[in-house]
């Protein structure tokens, strides 16, 4: 998935995360994370963000996330929504229950 513009999803409400994604000139994911629970879960949140982007095939992006204690599933959902918007892609492939 190619990031072509700015995409945002989520909020700064409690238990949510806001994810902003924009195109990067260099390859790689440049991630800035602010979290209310940085000490305890910073690494885990970063891992979910990076894995979700990898799953979508995003190889290059600048990502800014402000987390307010979101669960992993919320983090993944917000990253996906922001990435789809930033890729101007509406061809969603919903994951089916296994």
């Amino acid at each position: 998935m190619q990031i072509v513009t700015k995409g945002v999803a989520g909020t700064m409400e409690s238990s949510d995360i806001i994810v902003r994604i924009e195109p990067a000139e260099q390859k790689g994911i440049e991630l800035t994370l602010t979290s209310a629970v940085m000490q305890q879960f910073g690494k885990q949140i970063e891992k979910v963000i990076r894995e979700t982007l990898a799953e979508l095939g995003v190889e290059s992006a600048i990502v800014n996330a402000v987390d307010k204690g979101a669960l992993d599933c919320t983090v993944a959902a917000r990253v996906k929504a922001a990435a789809y918007r930033a890729a101007q892609c509406e061809d969603y492939t919903w994951r089916t229950k296994q």
Binding site: T5, K6, G7, V8, T11, M12, E13, S14, I18, R20, E22, T32, T34, A36, N64, V66, K68
Partner: protein, 325 residues
């Protein structure tokens, strides 16, 4: 929970209502807002407000009854999302230093601060990247700097740069990036570059958002209007002394004497006071023959090309001749 109301432009009854709310918090509204957010409680009373003006988040205020409810986070999140959707990738805000922690938790990072104002941006390394992109020259000392609008670049500017460059191993000329002048920022920058190309120890750089532009001046939350000028210049100088000068080893700042504009004169006086405290020497250079960019613009207006020619370098003249009328 609150009802979230967003919209643009801010005018009419809504404007008056928000102004009244801000006035109760000691905030004065100035200028136009591109986008606003209002949170209302169950009774329809305002619980919190916030506006977006260009790249600046403004008028973020919370009613005492709504403090600690996450109202500010809701407001900021709406503003940030709107800015992002509008393609504005870099946001700034000005707040009281005691609010720094709260905005830090909302993804803003400190740029510089004075006793009364903290400037923040939503890029972790925004100013660091800006500074990293400015060329360095090893072993050049002393390093000087001047900040100029150059609207347009005149013989007066040229004289100042030349004189300052002689007194330095390396001179940075920061050209104000804000687009509020007759000559667009890109043109002003190019004319300074062309007009100083022969000076080997001069590096011309854009000031970007970090040498305070009029658009980003934090005038609105200052109660005493008389303090206003000081707050503005102090923040500008805080960015210079706390971030820019240390990164580039700048120990001298040059300004032209200001016989006309009282604001610039007050600014120069404030520099004289504050820069030495930060270990930076301020050097005033006598203005050459009273040449001013405003005089050049007046001559342009009158179509007096010969008059313009006498006051500006050939490089500036060539541009004006090609673009006038």
């Amino acid at each position: 929970m609150y009802d979230i109301e967003t919209g643009a432009p801010l005018c009419g009854a809504r404007l008056l209502e928000i102004q009244a709310f801000l006035a109760q918090r000691g905030l004065t509204m100035e200028g136009a807002a591109d986008f606003y957010v209002v949170l209302r409680d169950e009774d329809g009373a305002i619980a919190a407000t916030g506006c977006l003006e260009g790249r600046v988040l403004k008028y973020i205020a919370v009613a005492p009854s709504a403090e600690g409810t996450g109202a500010a986070a809701t407001v900021v999140s709406e503003l940030v999302s709107e800015a992002w959707r509008e393609g504005i990738g870099h946001l700034f805000l000005y707040t009281k230093p005691e609010n720094g922690r709260m905005f830090r938790s909302l993804g803003f990072y400190p740029v510089a601060q004075t006793d009364s104002v903290l400037m923040m941006e939503d890029k972790k390394d925004g100013i660091a990247k800006f500074l990293a992109a400015i060329p360095r020259r090893e072993g050049a000392a002393p390093v000087g700097a001047c900040v100029m609008n150059c609207n347009p670049f005149t013989n007066g500017h040229r004289y100042l740069v030349e004189t300052a460059a002689k007194a330095c191993g390396l001179l940075y000329v920061f050209v104000v990036s804000e687009d509020a002048s007759l000559f667009p920022a890109s043109v002003r920058l190019a004319l300074v570059q062309k007009g100083t190309a022969d000076l080997s120890n001069v590096i011309v750089a854009e000031s970007q958002d970090y040498l305070v532009s009029r658009a980003t001046f934090p005038t609105y939350f200052i109660k005493e209007r008389a303090d206003l000028a000081h707050v503005q210049t102090d923040l500008d100088l805080a960015i210079f002394t706390q971030r820019i000068a240390p990164a580039l080893n700048i120990t001298r700042r040059f300004v032209g004497t200001e016989p006309f504009c009282p604001v610039t004169r007050a600014y120069n006086a404030r520099m004289k006071e504050l820069l030495p405290q930060a270990g930076i020497e301020l050097i005033e250079i006598e203005r050459k023959d009273g040449i001013s960019a405003s005089k050049v613009r007046a001559l342009m207006q009158a179509g007096d090309l010969a008059g313009v020619r006498a006051l500006v370098p050939d490089t500036t003249y060539a541009y004006i001749k090609d673009h006038l009328g």
